[in-house]
């Protein structure tokens, strides 16, 4: 049974190569996108942290800024 699944009548190398390439592409794209997200979020938090009290207060009036600061990692 296991041999049948692995060898696939001699086509195993082609089938497994196709599925592996697809899954590796998915994993790479997912982690690259996640890293970009975390990098941008970190930059936002540090920029917001360096604002003076008055500017930070003004910044917090925008709902999206509050959302970004509270969502430390949504994924």
């Amino acid at each position: 049974m296991i041999n049948e699944i692995i060898l696939m009548n001699g086509y195993g190398v082609y089938v497994w190569a196709s599925f592996s390439f697809t899954l590796i592409s998915f994993t790479t794209l997912y982690f690259v996108t996640k890293l970009q997200f975390l990098k941008e979020q970190k930059r936002f938090s540090s920029k917001f942290g360096s604002l003076n009290v008055e500017k930070a207060k003004a910044g917090k009036t925008q709902g999206i800024n509050r959302e970004i600061l509270t969502n430390t990692s949504s994924i």
Partner: protein
């Protein structure tokens, strides 16, 4: 109507959705892989090589679908002058490009046991390669141009010109003599050349791939919104 496309309102949803989409994607992909690799039958002609169809076909469909949406959004950003359309299009493009590459690579791997060659300058394959070049130009333009107005114009033009290639890809197998087989599924009619035992896994894998592109879109869109807000902090 476009007040619903405001980043503030969208972010509240898009920041919470990825974890649920990821969970659903993993569940559906697991079912799809079991069906595609173990439960679905062999083809009477291609034997087990037919299983490559379960990654090749959904990837091709989704890359074509995403590019068509890019073109629609580009027209929308021209007509309605809504920058959020461009942001949505920018966030969709990376997964479309990756699906395009997957379709080309898995098609090439499938070509070896069925046609005896890794590559042929056949109408369908060449037009898919041209689509990959359009995706490449689109993504590159976002990196090259600094001016926001300019980059939206350039990327929109690339998407609008590139979409001409989409019907060429679709009908290439009917218009020219190609190595590639004609379409087996016609979504406009109930006629299909594929048996349900293969059609169901194909549908499940397509759903899984669509969920993955939604997941990447949401993550990328959130990143883009934070980038915009980062620039906004400088102006405070």
């Amino acid at each position: 109507m476009f007040k619903y496309f405001e980043p503030n309102k969208i972010f509240a949803i898009t920041s919470k959705a990825p974890k649920y989409v990821l969970f659903l994607f993993i569940v559906i992909l697991s079912i799809g892989l079991t069906e595609a690799l173990i439960l679905s039958p062999q083809d009477y002609k291609q034997s087990d090589a037919v299983r490559i169809m379960y990654v090749h076909v959904p990837a091709a469909w989704i890359s074509l679908g995403i590019f068509s949406v890019l073109a629609l959004l580009s027209v929308g950003s021209f007509v309605f002058k809504n920058k959020n359309f461009a942001l949505i299009a920018k966030s969709l493009a990376p997964s479309g490009f990756v699906f395009n590459i997957i379709a080309l690579v898995t098609g090439s791997i499938w070509g070896k046991p069925t046609w005896g060659t890794w590559w042929a300058w056949d109408a369908r394959i060449t037009s898919m390669l041209i689509l990959a070049l359009f995706y490449g130009m689109y993504l590159l333009a976002w990196r090259i141009y600094e001016n926001k107005e300019q980059v939206i114009k350039v990327t929109s033009l690339i998407a609008i010109f590139g979409v001409i290639n989409v019907p060429i890809i679709k009908f290439s197998v009917d218009w020219w003599n190609t190595l590639h087989q004609p379409a087996s599924i016609d979504i406009l009619s109930t006629n299909t050349a594929i048996h349900p035992s293969m059609l169901i896994p194909l549908g499940i894998m397509t759903a899984a791939f669509a969920l993955f592109s939604l997941l990447i879109f949401l993550m990328k869109y959130n990143t883009e919104l934070i980038k915009v807000k980062n620039k906004g902090l400088d102006r405070l």
